[in-house]
Symmetry: C2
Subunit: 212 residues, 2 copies
């Protein structure tokens, strides 16, 4: 119980940095290293060494002075903290140009994330298989999400449909939403939303370029 509550209280910025450490540690293991030091990782990743030391300490694997952390154990502990030790089934909701694109994106595998089903309101798409994933009508969402034990949804519908889709996802028992729309979704406590708004990032870039 103590273990769980400690991991549960990991700071958000630490969680966001964990995938970056993870890749660097995996590269070390692939290169034959048995141990990794937070100082070396920090330098490679351009991070503050004090920050890196704290981040890695929170994974709960004891490090040894002058040896650093046992690489494999640290890797496993970070995967556990991220919930990446177990495969997570995800749904893509909205099979427009972006949803279709993400169905063909193989990068989710690294996170032990498997996109196993897709939903779209357009009846013309129902039954279509895209990159091996079948598209179902939105009305099937509650039944299939429960049957397939889907806890995570990637929301790629247009803005006007985003909130009502999110409501459906919450009703279907989804606990995490990766939101590609620009809407600030209202969800009940216990459901987590992460926003990936390309328009916001592009706003920062084009603002700078236009003035540069």
């Amino acid at each position: 119980m103590k273990e769980v509550s400690r991991i549960y209280s990991l700071p958000l910025p630490t969680i966001r940095r964990y995938p970056i450490y993870l890749r660097a540690i995996k590269a070390k293991i692939a290169g034959g290293d048995l141990n990794v030091s937070s100082a070396v990782l920090a330098e490679e990743l351009g991070l503050d060494p004090v920050l890196a030391r704290k981040d890695l300490a929170m994974a709960g694997v004891p490090g040894r002075p002058r040896h650093g952390y046992p690489a494999k154990e640290l890797c496993d502990a970070i995967n556990r903290a991220l919930g990446w030790d177990n495969a997570t089934d995800a749904a893509i909701v909205g099979v427009g140009s972006l949803g279709r694109a993400l169905l063909g994106y193989s990068g989710f595998e690294e996170q032990n994330l498997s996109v196993s089903v897709a939903f779209d309101a357009n009846p013309a798409l129902n039954g279509e298989t895209i990159h091996g994933v079948m598209v179902h009508p939105m009305t099937e969402l509650p039944r299939l999400a429960k049957r397939l034990k889907i806890k995570l949804a990637i929301l790629t519908v247009p803005n006007f449909a985003a909130q009502s889709c999110a409501d459906n996802l919450v009703d279907a028992g989804i606990k995490g939403i990766l939101n590609f729309s620009s809407i600030q979704l209202a969800v009940p406590k216990g459901v987590i939303v992460q926003n990936v708004d390309l328009a916001q990032s592009l706003a920062v870039l084009s603002h700078a370029i236009a003035r540069g």
Copy 2:
């Protein structure tokens, strides 16, 4: 001159919110509204009204008490502040599953962004046309970026290639990089990077789901 320096110093969070206001204001205009008030927009978007008032005031269009802002003028001013009043040509660098996906993504048009060229190190892809955009070898980047006046690049190469590609982009005169890799890119002053790391967002979601 005063005008430019004021816009130049827009706070980053304001810039990131501008696309969200912009869509809401456009919807109002489409609905026949001539004026918009910051209070109404704030409520619709779930934002703090004080924040919204400050954000919109920074666009430089005078509002009128009880009328709010002239909607069309405010829209134009925000587009100008974001550099979205002029079309920006962008390149996609790295035509793997994600790059290919983004070539088929129509959402960039909203930002007046036109993906006009793609680059990939794989010779097998050279000359291929994907969603109307031709893939060129990386060695063509400096010549084509200059000829096509490309200032913005969408970087979708694997992590190991990200920094060297970014170096090439900087050499070719690119001023803004939308970075989909997990590498913290080192770029000289005057070049802006925005990171879209799906792994980081998924880390937060799966961490929460695993403990939930």
